[in-house]
């Protein structure tokens, strides 16, 4: 009898691998257009990982906002700026070796720290993600309920923030 591997484990490892490969592609590829496609791979893989953790609403939001909105922004800007002399330009800054060593040290330290943590059994109350006032409706409804009732002030601040960001982007982007 071999070890039975569940679908969840397979999906996690497959999409974690594509997410990491996509992230590495963003950092190492020379052409920003290729970096953008690698970033899209990473975002879509992370959306699947959200679904595995029963965050269905956020998985779809990730698909729409990152995979749709932010990617289109990046692609538009890449097409606006002229990248013809790409081959002659430096890929990395002068500080890159020191930065790489520091980040690697930090990663080893924190992952060694995290490996010692023994988490309690997870997801002991599955109803919390789908229940609205004792009625099982769905994840979107539950998130909306929490967002509009318990977190109304942050929600309004977020709307003001987006307005400020929109005006800022328009002011920065217009011709002088």
């Amino acid at each position: 009898m071999g070890v039975v591997i569940s679908a969840e484990v397979l999906i996690f490892y497959a999409f974690a691998a594509t997410a990491l490969l996509g992230a590495l592609g963003v950092v190492t590829l020379r052409n920003p257009m290729y970096s953008a496609i690698a970033l899209l791979t990473c975002f879509l893989s992370v959306a699947v990982l959200f679904l595995l953790r029963h965050a269905e609403f956020l998985g779809i939001v990730q698909l729409f906002v990152y995979g749709g909105g932010i990617m289109v922004l990046f692609l538009f800007v890449i097409m606006l700026v002229n990248l013809y002399q790409l081959k002659e330009l430096r890929l990395f800054l002068g500080q890159s070796r020191a930065a790489a060593v520091l980040v690697a040290l930090m990663a080893v330290f924190f992952i060694a720290l995290l490996a010692q943590v023994d988490f309690a059994p997870a997801f002991t109350n599955p109803e919390a993600f789908v229940t609205v006032e004792g009625e099982a409706l769905g994840n979107s409804q539950a998130v909306a309920w929490s967002l509009y009732r318990d977190h109304l002030l942050p929600f309004e601040i977020a709307s003001v923030f987006l307005l400020v960001a929109m005006i800022g982007a328009v002011v920065l982007g217009r011709k002088q």
């Binding site: 992230a23 990473c42 965050a55 800054l93 930065a99 990663a107 987006l162």
Partner: protein, 102 residues
Amino acid sequence: MTEITSTHYVVLSFLLFSIGLLGILIRSNLIVVLMSIELVLNSVNLNLIAFSYQLSDLTGQVFAVFTICVAAGEAAVGLGILLALYRLRQTTQLDQGTELRG
């Protein structure tokens, strides 16, 4: 290895964070630096979702919505700054925009 625990998610999220941080620190192209910032924010979301699941508490998911909102605003303003730099210098290389007064 037979089930996915919160440790898996936190380690993955930390690896994505490290790669994003590395991209911010070493790349000389501003477009790719902005993409790396998105990677970092995305890894934060992954962490929030993992602990939301760990604690069976919806607040983590709600907070991730706000993180996505901040990421969208940051991308818009960051790319606006990039276009302003490009208009001034005809480049997106960070090491060519070094003047304090221009």
